[in-house]
Symmetry: C2
Amino acid sequence: MGIRKRLAMNVRRLRKERGLSQEALGHEADVDRTYVSGIERCVRNPTIDIVERIAKALEVDEADLFRRI
Amino acid sequence: MGIRKRLAMNVRRLRKERGLSQEALGHEADVDRTYVSGIERCVRNPTIDIVERIAKALEVDEADLFRRI
DNA sequence: TTGTGACTTGGAGTCCGTG
DNA sequence: ACACGGACTCCAAGTCACA
């Protein structure tokens, strides 16, 4: 499984666990809602600075976003 | 500590543990040696596709590149 | 062997909308 | 609430010469 897929699954899972919409997460992380959607669908190739902001918004360590479940 | 710094430290540490030069790692990961240098100096903001290639070259999990030591 | 500045080009990231 | 698309800006990708 590629790194995009892993990130996608972890972001979607953690986001839902927190009861957040893509738009709400986008607002917390200060990224566009369509971009969150793109990450979860593996069509985007985000930079690590974006990953950092999403991790902070989800209150997890950056490494957790790349864990294989 | 920011995500760039963490990535930088882990890449440099793991690279040295394997006795690789920046150029050798660059060759394995198919990225320019100056780009590896830029990552280790936190001046680059790489995408996750680049991180994936470097993790593969270092034979570690992607998450390991973001671990805090 | 590594650091660094400069450069071009493609894609990261935003904003508008739709079903 | 989400997938998807178009148009846009600007930075990352990728490379080079030189210290």
